[in-house]
Assembly symmetry: D2
Homo-oligomer: 445 residues x 4
């Protein structure tokens, strides 16, 4: 992932140094288990740990380059690493990797990296949730228009809007926890996964030490449906980011102006139009959401490996392992900050809410008319015509409000007077169940 | 979905009649809850149930056409249905749908349809699992070559191969159960989801009666991350189908011939080449897996609706709702039947296993040499050169077996005699942990 | 594709009857070429044509069912058809399909269907172009605000907006013509494409008669990169639909109200809120665009067939062949009608354009100040601060216009007076090159 | 893209330094055009060129870091660059970028980068074509079995296989040329694309100097359907790579062994199994093909920008611009080298071809029997049964060849003797049109 969209903690998980350190840990743990079982001398396991630990702890770019150099000859990354590592261990290095295949190391390492990445992403989602919760509480009763199809529908509260997004991120938190569990398995089962050359107890020890489950049947590789489910989950999370970013983009539109991304001192909205204040963060993460969605496709195609394994998944994962998690991490944290600092304009919300002459209360009127005895069809016709009479004249000097147009209709006047109509259209009615919904979402204090 | 790939039980879930019947049930339940609360007269709820129930029970193509006709005028499907339904209820029809929006009905109906579809898919996966389990037990110790990169690696058992696929379908069963729970929610919350015109108790009653959870925050619609997660899960299941189908396609290759799809009497493999017996079922479901994968993309894009809702998701779901579930149902059941009846050729498996002159035992030899005192590097070189000497002469008259080539090398002969080597290369060694793995997968009897 | 989104002309291309008629035409043409060459008796070709032509011309659902029945025994669709066809030809039927494979018939038929579908789609795009051209001419100088990031940027004309979309559809017309050429090839080359059993002159004859090119190397099948390129093109066209639909959805927003989909007499915008007039057509085709985009993925995966061919592409194409073309046809024609009848509100456009107190002219002022001698940095700061002073007070009683705020700044007043500033902000300046752009797009009269 | 899959020439196109140099070129050319028209002083254009040229020519990492630093304050990349550039120009820097928007610079720069990338990709495809052509000529008449469904079908030549892939790459070359033309446009049209502040002659000059066409209607941005079409084309090319890689993977299977990737001295196929020689290059590029396919999705979603533009496309393009082109460049060149050096085993091809006892000649026999007077149905039955009698006993001691089984059938013996049958089954018959096909593909010498 380009540095512009990389945060250090997530990028670090995918660095060569981190990868080699995890490889070493797997090899050392496996050796210790083998020593315990008696497959290799106890002293060898100690040599491996003591010789290797400082070597990987101290490793830097020069070591990475040295390993790359060995790989250019052997054309095999794990062999290259083991050769480099062996230089620090001596004789006993020959006891390393006994009966293992590269995949045992690579796939278990990937499991460690992906679970670490999942942990960061879960924390990111929690940061978004915290921001949404705080803003939802703040605006629990801030009236704003609810919109379906981009058209004013009925009043709602801004806090309720945010509570809906909160719920979606809460669901995504659960999905990420499940996705983490999907990939948190260890395979140390040797060629084609038969344990012919490595005892299952070695796997059990490595798995337990690394906080992983054992893979019930690994066929030299951990099956890729796990990884596909993981990346598909990231794509679902990306959708939540895009939905909220789209909401902000809409609210910041010049004609709407109900909310705005925080605008920094010194910021320039446009090189040519100094008046601009653009929702660039929301747009940026909308694009990142598209990327993360795109990464799910090759992950899904990766499931179909040939027989016990082929290595076509590897080039995909070298790229999307880091890219999808880094992009999502960046987008989530950008979103969290954006929501924390979002400038909200309640006055403007009220102006917009009332901007259509009251037609947004049409359903409450429809219901009241029906209950007052008009047929559903007649009620609908009366309300629709009164609403259109207001709507289509908006901005003209002779526009009448929705209430006026309603009362001017004999069939309405026959069953309802102005005072009743006013009570029917009271916006407070729209909030009567906000507390109920908040209790569903955030629990009751 | 085209009839060719549709099974009746799944197709029925998506028929207009089924949809209308669920719509009616939702309206009738809602009316009953409202009567209980006192929003509408108790007699009205009874009229709705008694007038509507026989009408939808008896509905047929002519009714569907009549509703379509009304929709061509009103341009609104739920209103068209309610008009048609009202004709059988009379006066009290005006108490139907009080304070509801179309989405309350449509989205809750979709939840019912998707959970029913999920139930079928779970049963399908269980059928695949049953077939795989039976064949895995049958071939628990049938020796076959394990292949990595399409190249012979080490011996494994055919049952173990199948056990791996069994595990993947078992994981998919769990994923489908989770996906079912994702979409099993009910929303009866009125315009923009505020409950301004419908009491939350109505939602609670409908949800409970239909076996659904309530949606904590519905914004007129049930949020589409749920549906996206559902369709993404179907894509992961499709991957498992493709992986197993690909295995069968490989095994049936002319040069491999280890297994074959059942060939029916009267079947013609090719219009021009009478000798052909092709793995056409596997290829067919490979294509269906691609389709199901493709359907996940629009589902993911559907998450980002505008504000409280727009209706862009609807045209997508009218197509992929049925198409993805019908295609997957068909593919799973075709796969289950295919695996049940798969013709397996154990003799051929053994021939292939031994076809490379014994080089497939190279890792066991490598390990034994290392343990006998040779360095890892020297062992690797000796084994690789002996193996290549066999491999590259395969089919030639003077080819020597891997064992012969090994013993001809002084550094090998120095540490190992023919009898030892023979013991090292015993294929039974490869099966020593098959029981362990089967116990992991199927439990212990 | 569901009937709701199917137009008869496109659906007809994909009906079983059409398919069988094309199959017959290919078989008859091939027989005629073989008779010409002398491979089969001339009388046989005549029998095939004369016996088969009336049979396929008259075919109906019962024949389709009869063929399906035969296929249930032979499990081969082309053999089933030939058997049915042969019943009408007699003895000479044995000369049909000599040396051909099913794929010769199937793939050439698909080429015919796809080119016909492409012809309809090209006509559809031309209908969209005609609507856009007419509306662009009508609104060539209708002022409206140009928006970047959803924020008011600078004035433009509504006709210019439409001209941009016109260009995109013109490009898509070219792309569809290219995509049509991609798939307009014929393969009659026999098993694995060697012409071992069928003379290349047969292919040449069939190709020429059907208006197709010959496929240079068919390996029993026409290579699927052609079809992938075709479906990928449909996905690009779908993007254009979604972009224009999104524009309309934005313009119809309650706060914007610059344009509106035509609202039919009798139409109900919402079952619960009678005041609603929603951009449901635009939203509908936005969803269809997602579907068409999704269909490109399995088409791309179809490229990788095994060796000379496998049949995994077939189940994909049976579905997306019709579904992608039918959905796109429907969406394009819905879009064309929608743009023809779009209700445009020029008065509202002007109101919105002037709604921000003149700040939308900031770049013209910036430029003028720079030219009047202020440094770029100072000009930018002055303009940005004057613009923000207006913007942030919008709706408040003491708001000053952008011009007032500018002239209140000494560094501005020092280089520019009110009259000059007024000239600089003249909106007509924004239209000075509209004619130039229209000439680029539509040519000069 | 990770360094492992990056070749320097392509990576260089996407470096910050290259980008800034192109930005400068655009600004300098625009200034020169403005000076020519008289918008800015002639001396200013000279200052800009003379002050800026050495500054960008000499720029290195420290300059890039300095620009990043400015951007952290201004939050605007183009303004940051102009500020840095201005430091080397002095007073006249204020004449730079007059009336332009950032997008004029960014989008025109992207056009330059994408056309350069396209040029490299076209050359890459030509390298693949050259390798395929050479190997096709070499193996024009090397007999090998053609396979449909992975099952032996009829003989073909290995050269003919390669010729088919050559054709696909030739088509992709044409597609890349078209895709290059799609994105080779220049936009210098100012805010919302009206040319209100920049004369169209400036655009004409910059376009011509950079070898680009002008964009007929740019709405501040170059419309993204162009880029979508470009990336979709890359996805189609990726499919060709995967198809050929899959062919090689199949040919290298242990049971097939007809071809093999070149195996380097010192290469280790497996860390644990020294006998392995795996088609790892093919598998690697199969994965890269998946990646490139995945990148097409966000590019397609990028089409739908809001109104005149939003910036959601930008984060997508910052990633997939380099990643898709770099991955495809790497995969193509790896493929070219792989095909050049592919080890081909003609002896093994012949062994496989004859491995099924002659049944692969079934269609020629079927045809001959029909022509000798047997009905098609009887011929098919005879041939199918004779073929199965051979096939199902393969590997058993009493297996009879296909010819023997045929002649043992009275209905066959009645119309055909052994000598005739032998002539009918002559493999040379399968090659009679190879020259014709080669002439179609490569032209005639």
């Amino acid at each position: 992932m380009v540095p512009r969209y990389s945060r250090p903690a997530m990028a670090e998980i995918w660095s060569p140094e981190t990868r080699y350190r995890i490889w070493f840990e797997i090899e050392a743990l496996a050796a210790e288990a083998m020593a315990e079982i008696g497959t290799i001398p106890a002293s060898a396991a100690i040599s491996i740990r003591q010789g290797g630990a400082p070597r990987v702890a101290a490793m830097g770019p020069a070591d990475v380059e040295r390993i790359d150099e060995i790989e250019r000859v052997t054309r095999h990354d794990v062999i290259a690493f083991l050769t480099w590592l062996g230089e620090g261990i001596g004789e006993d290095a020959r006891y390393m990797h006994q009966g293992l295949t590269s995949s045992d190391v690579l796939d278990t390492c990937l499991a460690v990296q992906m679970t670490r990445a999942a942990d960061l992403l879960i924390a990111d989602v929690e940061a978004v949730m915290a921001a949404l919760r705080a803003r939802a509480m703040e605006h629990k009763f801030t009236p704003t228009i609810g919109r379906s199809h981009g058209i004013h529908a009925e009043p709602t509260s801004f806090g309720l809007k945010l509570a809906g997004h909160y719920c979606e991120f809460a669901r995504n938190r659960e999905r990420l926890i499940a996705a983490r569990a999907e990939v948190a398995t260890c395979a140390i089962s040797g060629p084609v996964g038969t344990f012919a050359s490595v005892d299952p107890r070695v796997e059990a020890h490595v798995a337990k030490s690394l906080g992983l489950a054992i893979e019930p049947v690994s066929t030299q590789v951990i099956p890729r449906d796990r990884h596909a489910a993981f990346f598909a989950t990231l794509a679902v999370v990306a959708g939540a980011i895009e939905r909220l970013a789209t909401e902000v983009r809409h609210l910041q539109r010049s004609e709407v102006r109900e909310a705005e991304e925080f605008f920094h001192a010194g910021q320039k909205g446009s090189s040519s139009m100094p008046h601009k204040r653009n929702p660039v963060l929301s747009e940026n993460i909308t694009g990142l959401a598209r990327l993360v969605r795109g990464y799910a496709m090759p992950a899904l195609e990766n499931i179909t490996l040939w027989h016990e394994r082929d290595i076509s998944h590897s080039s995909v994962e070298r790229v999307i392992g880091p890219d999808a998690t880094i992009a999502l991490d960046f987008a989530l944290m950008r979103l969290a900050g954006m929501m924390e600092k979002l400038t909200v304009y309640p006055v403007r919300m009220t102006e917009n809410l009332e901007g259509l002459g009251g037609v947004v209360h049409s359903q409450k009127v429809l219901l009241a008319l029906t209950q007052a005895g008009l047929s559903r069809e007649d009620s609908y016709a009366a309300v629709q015509q009164a609403a259109m009479a207001t709507w289509l004249k908006l901005g003209q000097p002779d526009v009448k409000s929705f209430a006026e147009n309603l009362l001017a209709r004999p069939e309405v006047a026959a069953v309802m007077d102005a005072a009743t109509l006013s009570r029917v259209m009271d916006p407070q009615l729209d909030f009567r169940h906000v507390e109920t919904i908040f209790a569903r979402v955030f629990g009751t204090a």
